[in-house]
């Protein structure tokens, strides 16, 4: 077990003139499960491969435990990796596949290797598959074997490179819990790369969001969800994505209002107790963000105590447990997650409302000015712009 640290790591492909990883600094504590999440091509896999030693960092240091590992071959780093396409050796059976690393890298006797393989197979419930070739296994079984190959080595760290992307949705959820269970049981430091924000939210002790090779934010899943550091993180984490609309700050007799730049789509009167905490000057352009679950919808404006905004229901998507409403707000479409019993008629006027606590505001550069304040005191600590700044600086550390 070991701590992994990346210190200002940059990976540049000079031939193609691409900066895949741009000055990333990150610390993964001993035994921690960190999920690196981001859209395709954001550099998350390259970051992982730099830790694995399959790529060399152009600049910066990578260390595992007390050792700086730059320039070391993967075999000298004492890590195990699980690949997206499993990468099982097709000519070896499951037993040989799992034991291969031990056979090559250690001087263990055949009996000892056998024992370790059996143990790992037991943990993964694949004991009855040991004599089979990978070709005869299903995707889920193959991925279990790949996990077994990693576990059996008892390495300092596990590196997962989108291990569940090739599985179907149901199996993916099952394996997700499985991996989390095994990681917790073995408490081996793990880095898990995925493009699936749901996977990130559910699995990670902490998640690190990347975009364009840069680290955007690091934090606990709920922290990142409720207090995204910037507009990118806000849009990327959460499904359906956060609703956003660009607005201008206006002031009228001391009352601050946010008027959408697109004419008449939305005008939001900012309550004084919220507006006073924020550093907003009339004329500023901001982006309003609201999570779909925070949007309330009714067919009549009288249903709300506070302000409401006119909209049109475009589509109703029943999910069983909820209904998703697609609402036209000028040219923008917003999504609302409402109870399944509420199914307003489509193409007719409805009214939406959201409380000031649910409001996210982002400045012109996309940085967070205000994030959501949860009303449930048990799950939240009131966190405002100041604290969000701190989590950003943690991300950059």
């Amino acid at each position: 077990m070991a701590r992994i640290a990346l210190n200002h790591v940059t990976k540049e492909y000079s031939g193609a003139n691409i900066v895949a990883v741009d000055d990333v600094s990150l610390e993964i504590e001993d035994g921690e499960f960190l999920v690196l999440v981001g859209p395709s091509g954001c550099g998350k896999s390259t970051t992982l491969r730099t830790v694995a030693g399959l790529e060399d960092a152009t600049e910066g240091d990578v260390s595992i435990g007390q050792t700086r590992v730059n320039g070391l071959e993967p075999r000298d780093r004492d890590i195990a990796m699980v690949f997206q396409n499993y990468a099982l050796y097709p000519h070896m059976n499951v037993r040989e596949n799992i034991g291969f690393g031990l056979r090559l890298a250690t001087d263990m006797s055949k009996g000892e290797i056998e024992e370790r393989v059996e143990e790992a197979a037991g943990l993964l419930e694949i004991t009855d598959l040991l004599e089979k070739k990978p070709k005869a296994l299903s995707g889920g079984q193959q991925q279990r074997v790949a996990l077994g190959r990693a576990i059996v080595r008892e390495p300092q760290a596990f590196l997962f490179d989108e291990p569940l992307s090739n599985l179907d949705a149901k199996l993916r959820k099952q394996m997700r819990t499985e991996i989390a269970r095994i990681q917790e049981q073995l408490s081996v430091t793990s880095i898990y790369v995925t493009h699936d924000q749901e996977e990130a939210m559910t699995m990670g002790d902490r998640i690190a969001v990347m975009n364009d090779g840069k680290l955007q934010q690091v934090g606990r899943p709920n922290g990142v969800y409720n207090h995204p550091a910037n507009l990118f993180v806000a849009g990327f984490i959460g499904s359906p994505s956060m609703n956003t609309i660009t607005a201008e700050v206006t002031e009228d007799n001391g009352d601050v209002e946010l008027r959408s730049t697109e004419r008449e789509a939305l005008t939001y009167a900012l309550p004084a107790e919220v507006g006073d905490d924020l550093d907003l000057t009339p004329g500023d352009t901001v982006t309003i963000g609201v999570r779909p679950e925070d949007v309330r919808v009714a067919v009549s404006p009288n249903a709300f105590d506070s302000q409401s905004h006119e909209t049109t229901v475009d589509v109703v998507e029943p999910l069983g447990s909820d209904n998703l409403l697609y609402l036209a707000l000028g040219e923008t479409t917003w999504t609302a997650r409402v109870p399944p019993s509420f199914e307003p008629p489509t193409n007719e006027t409805a009214y939406l409302s959201f409380p000031p606590e649910a409001l996210h505001l982002f400045d012109e550069r996309g940085e967070t000015v205000k994030s959501r304040v949860l009303t449930d005191p048990s799950t939240s600590t009131r966190m405002t712009a100041v604290e969000t700044d701190r989590s950003q600086s943690e991300a950059r550390r």
């Binding site: 071959e73 890590i79 396409n85 990468a87 050796y89 070709k135």
Partner: protein, 324 residues
């Protein structure tokens, strides 16, 4: 089946309009199923017919000839002799001599071609820039007709003006004896000649397979602790087995019936040291016109070739194809 389709489907008592029948193209298939032979056989029929005319008929004629004694003079006659030709073959020292020569020739060529072929393929695979150019250059000898290769090498090894003879002479070797005329060196020269021409085939087959080995297997092996050599030993080589089996099969069958280059260069000499079995069959059948005896030896040669092919496929490919 058709009946099942027309009945509305219910699952657990709930009517459903889900289509539960077979795929829509079933009916066309049913029509095909009424044919006396399978659709696959129907597609294969033209090539089977062609093969029958070109291969199976000559084979039958050969079988027939192998139990006959055929004389052209003084009158054209065919006498049934039963197994006599085969008995004669067993007692003929010339045949066994030819087989020994063949084993040396085939074995030497296979080992050399396979070793070099895999080596060159692995090297070519690692070339990043201009791989296509290098590959094209490497495979050039393969494009030349065997007879032309024989003539070319005869020219190069000519005792008085051959380039290779000149080069070897510079090393102080073969200064007073011709390379192809020396019992000690003629076979080596023939093996090198064939290796020169046919290693590229093995390179091509192995290279194609190498390109099909996914990069992530090597990455997994590197993480698992493999060095460059152990990667080759435990990942590359086992995965190359099917390609190697195919290459061996093609080359061994080809080498077994080899004739052209030997005929052109040494003609089986000096003193029969390069008289391989193919040449022996040619001599018996078409030079001495012992058609019956030649057919018997040729048939035995066919049996050996088939058996050898089977051994390669079974042992190296391990029943073929379950490595994927």
């Amino acid at each position: 089946m058709a009946e099942q389709q027309s009945v509305p489907t219910t699952a657990a008592g709930i009517p459903s309009d889900a289509y539960v029948g077979k795929e829509p193209d079933d009916q066309g298939k049913a029509r095909l199923e009424s044919l006396p032979i399978s659709f696959e056989m129907l597609l294969l029929a033209p090539s089977i017919l062609t093969l029958a005319v070109l291969s199976i008929v000559p084979l039958a004629v050969m079988l027939w000839l192998s139990v006959m004694e055929v004389n052209f003079t003084p009158v054209n006659e065919q006498i049934f002799v039963g197994a006599e030709n085969y008995v004669e073959m067993v007692n003929d020292g010339g045949v066994w001599n030819a087989w020994q020569t063949t084993v040396v020739y085939v074995g030497g060529s296979l080992v050399l071609q396979l070793g070099l072929g895999v080596l060159v393929a692995v090297m070519l695979h690692r070339v990043i820039k201009g791989e296509n150019v290098f590959t094209s250059i490497v495979i050039m000898p393969m494009m030349i007709a065997p007879v032309v290769v024989g003539l070319l090498w005869q020219f190069l090894l000519d005792p008085s003006f051959g380039l290779y003879t000149y080069l070897v002479n510079q090393l102080g070797l073969f200064t007073n004896r011709p390379i192809l005329g020396d019992p000690d060196s003629a076979m080596t020269a023939l093996i090198l000649m064939d290796t020169w021409q046919w290693t590229p085939l093995i390179v091509l087959i192995v290279l194609a397979r190498l390109k099909g080995i996914p990069e992530h297997l090597y990455e997994a092996a590197r993480v698992d602790g493999a060095t460059g050599f152990t990667q080759f030993r435990y990942v590359t080589l086992p995965l190359l087995k099917p390609a190697i089996a195919i290459a061996l099969l093609l080359r061994s069958m080809d080498l077994m019936r080899y004739f052209a280059k030997v005929f052109i260069t040494t003609g089986g000499g000096p003193s029969n040291t390069t008289k391989i079995i193919g040449l022996y069959v040619y001599e018996q059948s078409l030079r001495f016109f012992n058609l019956g005896y030649g057919a018997a030896v040729g048939l035995f040669m066919l049996v050996v070739t088939v058996l050898m092919g089977l051994v390669f496929v079974e042992t190296i490919m391990g029943g073929a194809g379950d490595d994927e």
